[in-house]
């Protein structure tokens, strides 16, 4: 429940609601959209990426000399968790055609397509299968299906949202395979929302010029992820699964190709080796690095592991200077600080307003623009609302959704949001939600081509771990799409590659070499990566852990 002083501000929101409702019903934009110059202005001044200490030069590896997000550089300029000399690579613990690392929707899609293309698959993951950012996505998946929409318009939205930095052939693959991705998912049993006339329900998202967002209530990611997970589980003869065993290094062969990985078992703390003809990284992003101290929408395991191990193996990164902050992270109550409030709220008409109940930005700008405008409202203009815990946010007027779309809309279309807030005594059908940008997505990643190949032969990447598809800013609904389109491609091309490759003698010499480079720039020996899990142990506990050794963040 909101304290009285916040209630006062809510009354301002209620006062202006009627006028704002009239505006929304007029069919015109309720606030002017920004021009190219205004967009650049608000980004330069307010987006966290544009702050002085947001980036620094990476001193080693394939991207040496490039400016990259500071906390990512700290992960790249670190020692390996393993000592190569411990491993008997002549006798790997597992052998497979295709190794898929990561069990979200990209990993599942890759596993399914690899198995359909004749490969035996080993699917490994840090948490349980399906415990992933894919599962948490709420709002939707984009595909140009409506009669007045087409793949070219989708293309323009993607590349404009990405600040024209996207790799064109990746965008082309994304938009032209989108309808087939929806079709494939439907055929596997995903229940997409329909209109009363049986057409697909589609809503607009930030930066889209047509309503193109397909949804499954506000459990879209879950509906997709659990369906394809069930399909993966139905193929035990082709797809073997190892849970709680993250990959902590890649293995190469004497020809320089990637040929498997080293796994670390989080329970018995053993290491296991996998020999694979082809390897797919589908490990997702980096939210748990808490870049610039931000709260995150990401799951517990989102620590950029795939990025780090691919980089050590020689794969280059693209646009790793760019971080996505989702405009609407929850700010109140404190238990859900940083949690995602789906963009679908705004797709259904929810309006961002300041403490006086005034509109200050078009509600569906691309995410980086929208987030920057929120930050401007809370800092320079000082028109945000402070919480008792000291956070600040602006109101997202959710009750207006029901005024626009009819009573019961929130229960029907946003059951996850309704439930999330109800658990902490806020009724979003009656009261607005307090929001502020939250760390959400890794825009860049390991550079791929449209076959999901990297610079290193034998290594394929799909999903959030990859870079190039979304340029420097992803739009809503294109991540779910990316997982399916490029997950399937990675699985198919990896299986095809696995058929013809002859794997040589396995080696971890690239780790030894890389560690030498790390030593040369004088990094503290204690600094190791990948992180695997964040460390939330309070200092008061650590003080008494007299005999505990930490390997990075892990005990």
């Amino acid at each position: 429940m909101y304290p009285e002083y916040m209630r006062k501000s809510i009354r301002n929101v209620e006062k202006t609601r009627h006028e704002r409702l009239k505006l929304a019903r007029s069919g015109k934009a309720i606030f002017p959209m920004m021009s190219a110059e205004e967009r650049q202005g608000v980004l330069d001044k307010f987006h966290p990426d544009y702050k002085k200490d947001a980036r620094k030069k990476v001193r080693i590896g394939p991207n040496k000399g490039e400016n990259i997000t500071t906390k990512v550089v700290d992960q790249l300029e670190a020692y390996s968790r393993i000592k190569p000399e411990y491993f008997d690579l002549k006798h790997p613990d597992y052998e497979t055609d295709v190794l898929v690392i990561g069990a979200g929707s990209a990993g599942f899609s890759a596993s399914l397509l690899a198995s359909e293309n004749g490969a035996d698959v080993l699917l490994v993951t840090k948490l349980r299968i399906g415990d992933s950012n894919s599962m948490m996505a709420q709002g939707g998946i984009q595909a140009a299906v409506c009669p007045d929409d087409n793949p070219m318009l989708h293309y323009l939205d993607v590349i404009g949202g990405g600040h024209f930095d996207n790799k064109p052939d990746l965008v082309k693959a994304l938009v032209s395979e989108a309808p087939d991705a929806i079709h494939w998912l439907q055929d596997l049993g995903v229940m997409f929302d329909r209109n009363e006339d049986n057409t697909m329900l589609t809503k607009p998202g930030g930066g889209t010029c047509r309503p193109r967002m397909h949804s499954a209530r506000d459990y879209t990611g879950a509906a997709i992820c659990r369906t394809i997970r069930d399909e993966v589980l139905n193929r035990p003869d082709k797809i073997k699964i190892l849970e709680h065993q993250p990959a902590v290094e890649l293995i190469k062969d004497d020809k320089g190709n990637v040929a498997g990985a080293v796994l670390y078992h989080l329970e018995n703390r053993n290491y296991y080796t996998v020999k694979a003809k082809a390897t797919v990284i589908a490990t997702g992003g980096f939210g748990r690095l808490h870049i610039k101290g931000y709260e995150t929408t990401n799951h517990y395991g989102a620590t950029a592991d795939g990025l780090v191990i691919a980089y050590r193996a020689g794969a280059n990164l693209l646009y790793m200077d760019s971080v996505q902050y989702h405009p609407t992270g929850a700010v109140y109550p404190p238990q859900i600080l940083g949690f995602l409030c789906t963009e679908k709220l705004r797709g259904l008409g929810a309006q961002p307003v300041n403490k006086n109940g005034e509109l200050f930005v078009y509600p569906l700008e691309p995410r980086d623009i929208e987030a920057s405008a929120f930050i401007r409202e809370c800092t320079e203009r000082d028109l945000g609302i402070k919480t008792p815990g000291g956070q600040v946010g602006i109101w997202l007027d959710s009750p207006i959704i029901e005024k626009l779309n009819g009573p019961g809309t929130i229960k029907k279309d946003l059951p996850a949001m309704l439930r999330q807030f109800k658990r902490f005594d806020v009724d979003i059908t009656q009261d607005p939600i307090l929001v502020f940008p939250t760390l959400h997505y890794q825009n860049g990643g390991i550079e791929i081509n449209d076959h999901c190949e990297t610079k290193v032969t034998g290594l394929f990447v799909a999903g959030e771990a990859s870079g190039g598809v979304h340029g420097r800013n992803r739009l809503m609904g294109n991540s779910q799409l990316d997982l399916i389109v490029f997950g399937r491609r990675a699985g198919m091309y990896a299986a095809q590659y696995a058929k013809k490759v002859k794997t040589g003698v396995l080696t971890l010499s690239h780790i030894t070499e890389y560690d030498k480079e790390v030593e040369k720039i004088g990094v503290d020996k204690k600094h190791i990566s990948p992180m695997v899990l964040p460390d939330y142990t309070p200092a008061s506990v650590k003080e008494r852990q007299y005999t505990t050794e930490y390997q990075g963040t892990l005990r």
């Binding site: 934009a29 021009s35 948490l127 349980r128 415990d131 992933s132 950012n133 948490m136 140009a144 299906v145 007045d148 070219m152 293309y155 323009l156 590349i159 404009g160 024209f164 052939d169 082309k172 938009v175 032209s176 395979e177 309808p179 087939d180 079709h183 439907q186 055929d187 596997l188 049993g189 229940m191 329909r194 049986n198 057409t199 697909m200 010029c209 309503p211 499954a216 459990y219 879950a222 509906a223 369906t227 399909e231 589980l233 139905n234 709680h244 989080l266 929408t297 799951h299 238990q335 569906l364 059951p415 996850a416 902490f424 899990l533 939330y536 309070p538 008061s540 506990v541 852990q545 892990l554």
Partner: protein
């Protein structure tokens, strides 16, 4: 941590720890010094990895919730259930018909439901679990799919079921059959997939990929916005 935050005592596997008031079970465990490797996932109530049994002070009732979504109370007793070793039958979705026979074959335990409603009472998503089990017994697959839609596979229903039903796995089959066979097909989707397969947009898309940034920028900022 600021000193003025009031503390409450929680019992994790029977042992008492002082943790800040307002903590969720997950953050309380972390505050107590547990480094979680299982029984934790998305931390936002979507993945179902953190099913937890608890009992509140001076209460005899065993309750359940998601550790990331449940705020601790003073005197709460907590035990996590990180994994449910329940049955997951294997099937080929292309060979399963959307009818009651499918459930008789694949999930025969469904028909042992005694109607005790324990599953509904324990569900942390407030799903009418027993109602969807009953719908499946009647052969109303679409109803079961609708009722079970918000299931996150935490497994608590199956754990408490006296009839040994694996409700959440039966529910995913119901939803897949509904999505695949029972929901109406979108003609727009079929048409667009066919157009793309026939290469209708190929040339124009090729042209876009070859355009210079200036041309693309102009087309982007000039495009018409339709929101409804």
């Amino acid at each position: 941590m600021p000193k003025n935050i009031p503390m409450v005592k929680v019992y994790i596997l029977g042992e008492g720890f002082d943790v800040p008031e307002g903590s969720t079970i997950i953050t309380a465990m972390e505050h107590a010094g547990f480094q979680l490797t299982v029984g934790v996932g998305c931390r936002e109530g979507f993945c179902g990895a953190c099913a937890t049994l608890y009992r509140e002070k001076d209460d005899y009732k065993l309750q359940a919730g998601l550790a990331c979504q449940t705020v601790v109370t003073d005197g709460m007793n907590i035990a996590q259930i990180p994994f449910v070793p329940a049955e997951k039958p294997i099937y080929d979705i292309n060979k399963v018909n959307p009818d009651i026979e499918a459930f008789k074959t694949i999930y025969p335990t469904l028909f042992r439901c005694v109607g005790c409603n324990t599953c509904t009472k324990i569900c942390p998503q407030d799903i009418e679990v027993m109602d969807y089990v009953q719908a499946l017994i009647r052969g109303d697959i679409a109803k079961a799919a609708d009722l079970s839609f918000d299931c996150i596979r935490c497994g608590l229903c199956a754990l408490r079921c006296p009839a040994e039903i694996v409700q959440y796995n039966a529910a995913i089959l119901a939803r897949r059959l509904t999505g695949k066979y029972l929901l109406p097909k979108s003609q727009d989707l079929e048409k667009r997939v066919k157009e793309i397969a026939e290469g209708l947009y190929e040339e124009e898309l090729q042209k876009l990929t070859k355009s210079n940034t200036k041309t693309i920028k102009k087309r982007y900022y000039d495009r018409e916005i339709k929101t409804g």
